[in-house]
Symmetry: C2
Subunit: 269 residues, 2 copies
């Protein structure tokens, strides 16, 4: 097999499996080639991916080492995405009775959620989490894309305990957006104690859902190491969680209540 | 830029965006290269992807033409996935009180759902659907991965009408697994009349949910052109929908009720 074919295949395999480590042996036996040949191939792949500006190929040294592809979006690419998405969300037809914003098409859009998942992965990759966690329903597509990019399992908390979840742990919490008591529940077999989780959700206002999830995780002896949402309201500034990363902010004009969505311009680099 | 770099980047761009058409001009201006050069590059990429056995690069002729990557899994690859997944699902610890099977970890596993999404894309690609549709909650990860592979928007039906969905259409239907009346609801602005949809769900027993979704789609003047589920029970044979494609079958031993999961060995080639 020629070098041009091997490098094409290596790029395909690595980028299809973000954050998954492949040993050099995997490629030497796949291509029946010498280790030195594969090392040179990978150096070429690394340059190609680096030139594309949205990820990198990382080498992990040692006996259990190998290479992996990691998403690593530049601020410029993130800003472009945020601008385009803000424009879509600022279309006047999205405003519903009661001042709600229609976002379901965007929260389940595969391309939007995949890109957002790569942003969350860029932000949270170095935290070495064990799980991505969300609560049904509208954050699930975002969360599964983040979990894919981070190569982590996804745990979805439910509003009600289900027979098919087996034995569950439940808590009540106050939703910041509705001021009502809500319930969440999670299967006890879904997570191991002493691990770390990243919480992903579609929307944050008071932080009640994220706070409730963090509380639930604490009950399971799982620590929350990061919280990411697609949209957070700018007000109230004080939320029930201290630290969170929103991709976009929502502002309500104090005069006429008009909603404006805009990028969070925090740097991820 | 060298050919080896161009081909690596073309493979990356195409496979990251399944079923999305890129004009030749896109690549000629990206690389500042002649059309004949890019055509030769693409021929090399086509061979590389074809040799990998899980997809192909397709050329669409004409003024609005271009190239796109489409997932196209071989039966051999599908069978391997089905075998491994059946083994995971047949672990005795998954059986819950009441004979239910714990599947949540699998239904939200990013790698499993991504592979399953590529199977559904292979099966349903030629139907030229406009939407992928599911109902909350456990089919959402599968459905968003199928939607990504098919480059289609995803519509998620809800159990209850939500303020944030705007004006909704609701129906009641009988769930085949529980024999209870359930409700489903969808935002009227989520789909255009006169279009086609593929229904994806995690599990099918009587076919009540899928039948309910098809009924709802008919109300919106959307025709159901395909139904895919991860697991379908072998009994009852007669379900509320005529035609559906399960990746796996579930058998209940008539003597002791023991559950066995096994591959659907229908060919997709």
């Amino acid at each position: 097999m020629k070098r041009i074919e091997r490098t094409g295949m290596i790029i395909r395999v690595l980028t299809e499996n973000p954050n998954k480590l492949f040993s050099l042996n995997y490629f030497t036996s796949l291509f029946d080639a010498a280790k030195s040949t594969i090392s040179e191939d990978i150096a070429i792949c690394r340059k190609i991916i680096s030139d594309m500006g949205d990820g990198e190929i990382v080498t992990v040294a040692g006996a259990a080492g190998g290479v992996k592809y990691v998403p690593r979006l530049s601020d410029k690419t993130v800003r472009q995405f945020q601008q385009q998405l803000s424009e879509r969300l600022n279309e006047p037809s999205r405003v519903l009775t009661g001042g709600f914003l229609f976002t379901s098409d965007i929260m389940f859009d595969p391309r939007v959620t995949k890109f957002a998942g790569n942003i969350f992965a860029t932000k949270f990759m170095d935290l070495n989490a064990d799980y991505v966690v969300t609560i049904e329903t509208k954050g699930i597509a975002l969360a599964v894309m983040a979990a894919e990019a981070l190569n982590l399992p996804l745990v979805v908390m439910r509003r009600e305990g289900k027979i098919s979840e087996g034995s569950t742990l439940s808590i009540n919490y106050i939703s910041g957006s509705t001021d009502r008591i809500q319930k969440m529940s999670v299967s006890k077999k879904s997570m191991h104690p002493g691990t770390k989780a990243i919480i992903i959700d579609d929307f944050m206002k008071g932080g009640g859902s994220a706070g409730g999830m963090a509380e639930m995780l604490a009950e399971l002896d799982v620590s929350t190491v990061g919280i990411g949402v697609l949209i957070a309201t700018r007000e109230p500034k004080k939320k029930r969680v201290d630290s969170y990363y929103p991709i976009l902010y929502l502002d309500n004009d104090p005069e006429d209540g008009r909603i404006t969505i805009s990028p969070n311009d925090e740097s991820l680099e």
